[in-house]
């Protein structure tokens, strides 16, 4: 008994345990998502997050301890973002042909994301710092945090809202676009990337490689546009 406690207190502090937990939880969630026929609600990110949160809660492990191990996975987000250059390059002829629709869709999606988020939240009585934290929610996390700070939001809250936006977008997109009978993978991918950044892009890559490539472009372009537009639009809602 005492030995087991000692072993646990050693393992619980080691990155190995939480890195392994992250990979195992994701493997189980991905397998379950496959079993569920890739149903929209069976989102592997969401399921893995809930699974790990339960483990952390049961073992009363602080997030900081968990992140010591999980940071190795988190770190790969940077190289993975750089790697998006390859599908962009592979789809170059398609991208060139879609330049005008992409720019139009970028403005429509980016403006809608910022204005409706602020409008709905304000109508529901949200004001001040909390409201400003919501403005850049569709941009990729590092941009959103910077924008939030610049317009008087709370970066920690923005980080939470950005992730939830990504997961919501990944869950909503497929059923909604199927219901609308949108069959253009370029349009589907691009829209998800603009509205739901990297998590939307991850989802798009699982469905169709063209959608994934266009989603990556949507994410990158909206990072830039949100940084320019959000501070201007946020002023109107102060």
């Amino acid at each position: 008994m005492n030995d087991a406690v000692l072993l646990w207190s050693y393992l619980a502090q080691e990155p190995l345990l939480w890195l392994t937990t992250t990979l195992v939880a994701y493997t189980i969630s991905d397998w379950a998502a496959g079993k569920a026929g890739r149903h929209a609600l069976a989102n592997p990110v969401l399921m893995a997050v809930i699974l790990i949160a339960l483990v952390l809660w049961v073992t009363s492990t602080p997030y900081a301890t968990y992140f010591e191990g999980a940071q190795f996975v988190h770190f790969m987000l940077g190289p993975a973002t750089v790697a998006l250059a390859l599908p962009l390059y592979d789809n170059l002829p398609k991208v060139k042909a879609a330049l005008v629709p992409m720019i139009a869709a970028l403005f429509a999606g980016s403006l809608t994301a910022i204005i409706t988020a602020l409008g709905i939240a304000k109508a529901m009585g949200i004001t001040g710092e909390t409201l400003m934290s919501l403005a850049p929610k569709s941009a990729t996390a590092p941009v959103a945090l910077g924008v939030s700070e610049a317009i008087g939001g709370q970066p920690t809250l923005t980080a939470v809202l950005v992730i939830l936006t990504g997961i919501s977008g990944a869950i909503i997109a497929t059923p909604m676009l199927n219901a609308l009978k949108i069959t253009d993978w370029r349009a589907r991918g691009f829209a998800v990337g603009v509205a739901a950044h990297g998590i939307g892009t991850a989802h798009a890559f699982r469905i169709n490689s063209t959608a994934g490539a266009f989603s990556g472009i949507g994410m990158g372009l909206n990072a830039v546009l949100t940084a320019l537009l959000a501070p201007l639009i946020a002023r109107l809602f102060l």
């Binding site: 997030y63 996975v73 190289p79 390059y89 941009v143 253009d184 589907r188 990158g220």
Partner: protein
């Protein structure tokens, strides 16, 4: 590439067992471009994140040196196929920080979900409309 001197059958065998002869070089390339991107982003105080600048720079490099594509292909596609996994640690952070919602939880969640759905709609419909105006067929 270095594998040019190797017998064809050996290359085919390695491809079959799934070894990526370029893996270390591929990771070097991705990290170097990220590093360059981070340096530019921080050095010039740009608002665009380092990895996004790295993405743009690697894209330009691919246009100039098309052979680069085959060096990074297996590693890049491997990373992108499991992009979802990479968001899990940050996602767990969301649960740890749900307290930051305070009393505004429901309002924030409603605004976030409705706004995200509307943004997808606006973007997808605009894309399809402009594609049709330009006389492009559906793919």
């Amino acid at each position: 590439m270095a594998c040019a001197a190797q017998p064809r059958i050996w290359i085919a065998f390695r491809a079959k067992i799934g070894t990526d002869p370029h893996m270390i070089r591929a990771i070097c390339i991705l990290l170097l471009f990220q590093l360059a991107g981070e340096s530019l982003s921080r050095g010039f105080d740009l608002f665009v994140p380092g990895p996004v600048i790295g993405l743009a720079a690697l894209f330009i490099a691919l246009l100039i040196f098309p052979k680069l594509a085959e060096v990074i292909r297996v590693a890049a596609n491997g990373l992108l196929a499991h992009l979802s996994l990479l968001f899990v640690p940050a996602g767990v952070g969301v649960i740890a920080h749900l307290g930051t919602f305070g009393t505004n939880g429901i309002g924030l969640i409603v605004a976030l979900i409705v706004s995200t759905a509307l943004a997808i709609l606006a973007a997808v419909l605009t894309f399809v409309l402009f594609a049709r105006l330009m006389g492009q067929r559906h793919e």
